[in-house]
């Protein structure tokens, strides 16, 4: 079974900005995304997720290397400073490369 390497970009951030964020990452090259509800703790404190102002979402985007760079760069430029957000990238193998 032939496998193709892609990048998996995972973002954890405030749910308040979901709509804007999704619009932007698609503009920067994401063909799709998967969202799960999350809570957590980081430099900006505990986000318990028990109330609209402190819910997190965890967004995953599978894409090619250059899109991943573009999205990560865009997020760093436009979101990093002002929002609770982490972001990491890893390598994944997919079966249908044309989808991503």
């Amino acid at each position: 079974m032939h496998q193709h390497q892609r990048r998996l970009l995972t973002i954890v951030t405030e749910s308040t900005i979901e709509a804007h964020l999704l619009r932007d990452i698609q503009r920067w090259g994401a063909h799709g995304y998967t969202i799960t509800e999350a809570r957590g703790k980081g430099a900006r404190g505990v986000r318990e997720g028990n109330w609209e102002a402190n819910r997190n979402i965890r967004i995953e985007v599978v894409c090619d290397d250059s899109s991943a760079e573009r999205i990560a760069g865009g997020l760093r430029a436009h979101y990093y400073d002002n929002y609770a957000m982490i972001l990491y990238l890893s390598n994944v193998d997919v079966l249908r490369p044309e989808k991503f």
């Binding site: 900006r44 609209e52 102002a53």
Partner: protein, 315 residues
Amino acid sequence: MIDPVVMFFLLGIAAGVLRSELRLPVQVYELLSILLLLAIGMKGGIELARQPFLALVPQMLAVIAMGFALPLLAFPVLLYFGRLPRTDAASIAAHYGSVSVGTFAVVVAWLSARDISYEAYMPVFVVLLEIPAILVGIVLAKGLGSGDSLRRSAHEVLLGKSIVLLVGGLLIGWAAGEEGLKGIAPLFFSPFQGLLALFLLEMGLVTASQLGTLRRYGLFLLGFGVLAPVVAAICGLVLAWLLGLSVGGAVVLATLAASASYIAVPAAMRISVPEANPALSLAASLGVTFPFNVVVGIPLYHWLTRHAYAIFGGS
């Protein structure tokens, strides 16, 4: 004696402070706020249908004006006395210029429990007061050149959960009338106080989680969170008197002026003034002002109103 719904709030705070593992699922919180917003809207709509609409327009304009004025009053205090950065001062001013629907629900329950009547179209004022302060806050933070951002923000708040449900409820109540809504009363109207009690339990838990932040930001926030609502309440009271509202109506308008948003405004500020630190404004509005209004403020505003009305005349 303390109202039972307030006891639920205190129970929530106690559980939170003691680090109990009690937690309400966020979906329950959402269900409760949907039910409360719709019920408040519908009650207002029922009443609105009984009024000649045009007669209310002057009152509505005056209330909108107050919505623009209050944040302009708060901003310099935050900037000069609080020595806060411009964006934070603007954001907090927006929170305090707008209103808290939860506080509105509590004052309404408080008056009902005491059989004090009020102008029942008050939910209209909740809607009218929600937005102006947000626009003022953005302009204060970003200057008048922020027209585009303003328009987008206004749009987003108009389509936010609270306005859609309040206005939707208003329209439904207005169109269907009390009689027409009798069928749905057992879900929306009869259990209103119980739903509010549960909502306040959750708000107590959330409030408790703000206390940590509060401690970090020192005394100014605490003082502002107590004094700002009292000053705003007096503004609201004066306006109510000028508009010829009843004592009950004046208490509601004073409480609305005194209340600080913790739902619509935080979301709008997060998007439009992202540089503002949300921990700051929430610690003040939710950690200080909300409990202050619910426990102390409302009885105080009632006391003030009764005396003011006794002295200056008014029913």
